[in-house]
Symmetry: D2
């Protein structure tokens, strides 16, 4: 990994996709194939056991393998060669049955799915943690009044909990989406050279192979790459939803807003030249990932045009890109969880900021109150005029309205932020109940 | 639409997303809002009816609206202005209640979902038609032997039905994916200026509004755009799967292969300078779409970083892109259905092509037969050598093997394509049964 | 064009790429081909003149052409058919020489380059206008002190002119880049069916054809699409640089910053529910375009893998995408020029905002002044501590420093923003001089 | 690097961008800054020398640095901390002047440009090698007749040299483009915290700094990222042009075409199950890169929207993506050079393939010959009819034409491929002369 392995990524997940673990997953596939074939009697139990015993990363010369990948064009070819040699040293007979009837792609793809299964396990656990964190702050701040902003302009008050409840909903829909996909995605690839199966790769072998691996059986998807694109796409959406959170926080952290902050840590967010700054470093990392992943999802989709029974290039184009998507998404998730867990909220500043417009953000309250009397358009125009006066004279809208003796009762209530949060609290309660 | 409106697109779907229909969908939202509010007693039934009667595209000055879009930044603002004026001409009182409590995005987004619902209806019908066409040819050609090709090289025989059964599986998984998404996607947007609802946009109003429109209720997703990205992503996958079909057909149509052809039509696929050519024009269109859509899906994901309660730019970036994805996918689907419906298959040429390698593609049969005797690696090496001899001497592999007195029985059977299709037929049957 | 034709686009440029103008450009190519061939004596001058006279958009049935595009797969095929018919009605002999020796792609591509030439002409004029506008405001505000912001945090003072001088530099480099490309891009395509030229498309014809059209001659680039990708890429960069301007303005326009504003216009930037808002509508459009174009540039690059002498799909994938890039870039340019021309700057607010941090943004001044005495790290630490005290006690940094009797002379000068703008003014002067 | 470090990449270039070399480049920047400041008298020569002596990768704890990157958000912050400590251990006074007046981005960006300069040096050398290889085969095969193919259909004869001359032209335009960009790209970044320079980063320092580094001086481009996007875009075009070559070769290598082949190597291109196959493994890698890079170029463009004086996320989004583009492009270039250097051409098969259509590809010859007698449309129709007859009766077109007593002289010449290559040879000669 690069210099930035800890800035953008999750160390745990980086490890999950290390060279060693990637090769190990392919070896699990080879071993399981032998066991499945032995179970049915295609090869002997003894041979299968020898093969399985040799399916250890310890026997693999990774550097040699990397060099040879260039010759065959994928990692399974040199791996099978190495494995066969190791088996042969132990049992000549057994060596005939290594990778028996299988094709390289069977092993590469199944290995990949095994890693994806582990990844999804990690991801779902972390998603639950973040969900709980989001529920906590949503509950905590459900009545904390702040201004809602649209097109980067102050609009009307909401509560901070309402904002985070929307983050929560986005996240929970991602959890649902990821769950729905597993039945399709977590399947074996085992169908031989051209996807037609063969004597040694019978349907029975496929079923047993799947059972051993804890995956679903499947016919060939060697050049049908929709399922892994579903994974890519759904991770892309998740990264986007996490990026949206980081975007909000980084904006709220602006010096001039100062409402919400990344948790502080020794040495964190400092600038080499401006000792006072509190940079949204974690947000920056999450946002960087959210900028990159959409293009990687597009890259996966572009590689769907796989020629005939196996592609010359587009299959190859998937490998690093799909892994990168998984790694970046994991990084974003880990960092967002850190962000939410450590979030600092300045409720006073939130209230103070509402007053910046000198009442302008309550203009709609007045508009609505007036609309029922004089019609929406007229109300809109009248209030617009009052707003312009308030701005040009740098005075509070309420004063202007009073002077213009605008016929509205209970002006004070119209200008009380707590009266302007709509159903924020009820919505938060309903959302929290839904995801309890 | 451009000069290419009929090459890349579906006329029916282009029409669905015409300016008129887009505006009409927003008017349906406005009308339903008034009706929902009347039902609850927020506004009078009379006002609601006047409003609903005015919610007709006939009253809209589209050119004016387009000009004013530039001022407000979205289509709902000038539409509401025009609508209010029309209502006011009929009933001053009612005009106070147009768009009552709603925000522009409520109308733009709900209108968009209404169009998406219609689109999905169209899409699902067409998907069923294509599914049936694919099932037909899969059944028809399930025993039609051809060569399978990997990395653009002849590999081993399959049947044409096996190939099309993989196309079918890809398509059917898309059908499943699209169906799963509808519960999340087909929801209203109605939550007022900052997503907090308000007196006139109560939860009860939202529920009724949804009920009238045949959609699900929802809290604000004004800056949570995961659902429409799910749509984009799943259409991207579908377009990719359709592109894969076109890629295969265009390759099989190559002059030197000549196994499968787009249906002929008067004037179709001709070249202005080469009267004999039979260009894969339909495939080219499907492939062009499949080249473009991945980037558009990426574009949607990039626009997920929507600031606070409504974005300045990223919301706007969605509009044309999402529509373009829907239009191109529809075009691809319509054209693929046309392609499959008219597909011409040259079974003789398929068989003849198998002989091009002078037996080389049966090398694996020999390998496997030998492997059980002398071990896989040795068998691989021996056969590799024989293959090289066959190539360098331009002779048939069977002859070389006979001369080398390779100890294999039943050579003829090993070189019979029909014996080399693995479980092609069984797989086809199983797949057809699954999707019946 | 869509509902949003005036929001994201330039009407002038939309018109430039209308169906009529696109066809007309192809007809100019056909006419010029005939003239070139007549000049050399391949066809008679009479025939050429008849052909040229018939090369008028008035004779074209555009609806019919659109329908037939679907059959041949590009617009030139039906156009040549229509043109030949028109010519034949006038002069049977001449009709033999329509599109003589050419291939469809010669006409489509040359027509496209002719439109690109017009487009670049428009673009360069508009770029000059924007350049001048940017120079004006850069000069005007070169001493206007404001705070510079990094990672969305206040950092140190700059001048507004320094900021706009960076916008200017980005723009001027784009102007330079676009100019450099013209010698490669503005070339004819004329090389016949497979790019080899032929009797009727001799090198001499190509040269004359180019001369008539005001383009450079070229050998076939029928499947070498680097030049149009250079166009796409450079427009992508321009759109990005314009988007960066809009991003800055939209952030500076935030209610809490309020330093810079889009020019006001009747009805512009209003919200249907919040009459006081001043939405960055123009910025939103420019930003939306900047979100979309990167993906379209990627789409163009993806279509570079054009098979052999003409692609089945990737050529087709370029057409609408390249046009869309040109249209969106034009829209961004026009809108940015409008934005800069109408920009409102609140110099007082700029100065006031500097005080928000109560002196914290001057911490580096103090750091640097101290560093020469006690070393950088120590200075950094000491000032960091003082900053924390200032924050926690909500007091001005200068006061804290005085209390801590930090040994710095001339504290007042260190806290004077005008003394903290570095070489802002000198840099601005140098940049303005460079681009005069 | 991943398992695939040797499949998709160049080892030399991977090494160039190793962690060590990336850090070393930043240290060169720090050292040069001190030297430049000493030259002018801002710091003492002694201090500068101590600093320069400490600017060695040997003193850096890379693991520690990677961990700390997470805190500050970029690699320069922890690097400066480590460097300052090292300097302090040697000379307390000097330690005050490490990174004096600079900002992290100055160092990260300048280090990056130094690496880019090295990269471009490598790239230009390799481009020259490939150019020479392409010129060689273009000369060698300039008269080698083969069929040209459009939309994957046989069209008309060309020569293989004509095809490779188009590859050559694409490459040479990339060489030109890359050269043009260097004046803009190879510039320093040195302008302090907010791009305004300062006392210690004066214009004079910037100029000296640039001179020491062999780069051009520049004002701040801290949030103007057009130049590095120009690099990304131009590498994207190069990768596309290389991908086009690989696309052609992989198609020509198809079993049914068999005209051109990747050079053979021990163990190369073999399949684990089909010993006879000759997979286009090198092409697959080049194509995979060409599938991925367009999206990475798009990713760079998306990150151009950098907020104010330094971005929170978009700057960060560039780092790994730009490097990845450079690495993949280098891999593609190295592999294409290998591909072209080892290309095997089967001239006999090329000629044989021309006969596959039984004369159909010469139809245009007949068309043109007839056109001058009976008009283009009639000729087209007559020949089209004859072609259909030839196809349906599976006979040679020449025979059909003779039977129909079509009035054409010298039919044999019209059906001689060597007479149908247009100006292939002349074009090749002209192109070779241009690039000599």
């Amino acid at each position: 990994m690069s210099l930035y392995s800890q800035l953008f990524y999750s160390s745990e997940v980086n490890e999950l996709f290390s060279d060693e673990n990637t090769i190990a997953a392919m070896l699990v596939a080879e071993s399981s194939l032998a066991q499945a074939q032995a179970e049915i009697g295609i090869i002997s139990k003894e041979s299968a056991n020898v093969i399985s015993n040799c399916c250890s990363i310890d026997f693999v010369d990774i550097d040699k393998l990397k060099k040879e990948v260039k010759l065959g064009g994928n990692a399974a070819i040199p791996l099978v060669q190495q494995l066969t040699k190791v088996v042969k040293n132990q049992d000549f007979e057994a060596s005939k049955y290594v990778h028996f009837g299988a094709t390289s792609q069977d092993i590469v793809d199944t290995g990949s799915i095994l890693q994806i299964a582990q990844y999804l396990n990690w991801l779902e656990n972390k998603l639950t943690v973040l969900k709980i964190e989001l529920m906590k702050i949503t509950e905590k701040y459900k009545r904390t009044v702040m201004v809602g902003r649209t097109l980067l302009q102050q609009a009307r008050p909401i509560t901070f909990g309402l904002k985070t409840s929307a983050w929560l909903e986005g996240l929970c829909r991602s959890i649902e989406r990821i769950d729905e996909m597993k039945k399709r995605l977590l399947v074996v690839q085992l169908s031989g050279a051209v996807g037609s199966q063969n004597k040694n790769i019978s349907n029975e072998v496929v079923n047993l192979f799947a059972q051993i691996l804890g995956l679903n059986p499947s016919f060939s998807w060697q050049s049908q790459r929709d399922n892994i694109n579903e994974l890519a796409g759904k991770l892309g959406i998740l990264t986007g939803s996490l990026g949206k959170i980081a975007k909000d926080v980084s904006l709220l952290m602006q010096t001039e807003l100062g409402e919400v902050f990344e948790g502080a840590a020794e040495g964190k967010g400092g600038s080499s030249t401006m000792p006072h700054k509190r940079n949204p470093v974690t947000c920056a990392a999450i946002l960087a990932n959210a900028t990159r992943v959409p293009h990687l999802v597009g890259s996966m989709l572009s590689s769907m045009l796989q020629e005939q029974e196996r592609s010359a290039g587009n299959w190859h184009a998937e490998w690093e890109v799909l892994t990168e998507i998984m790694l970046l998404t994991a990084g974003s998730l880990e960092k967002t969880t850190e962000l939410i867990g450590g979030l600092e909220v300045d409720e006073k500043r939130m209230l103070a900021n509402i007053e910046i417009t000198q009442g302008l953000i309550f203009a709609e309250n007045v508009s609505l109150a007036l609309a029922s009397k004089i019609g929406k358009i007229q109300a809109h125009e009248l209030v617009e005029k009052a707003c312009k006066a308030a701005v040009s004279k740098n005075r509070h809208l309420k004063e202007i309205l009073i002077e213009n003796s605008t016929e509205i009762e209970s002006l004070d209530e119209l200008f009380n932020p707590e009266n302007s949060i709509g159903n924020s609290v009820e919505i938060v309660d309903a959302i929290l109940k839904k995801y309890e």
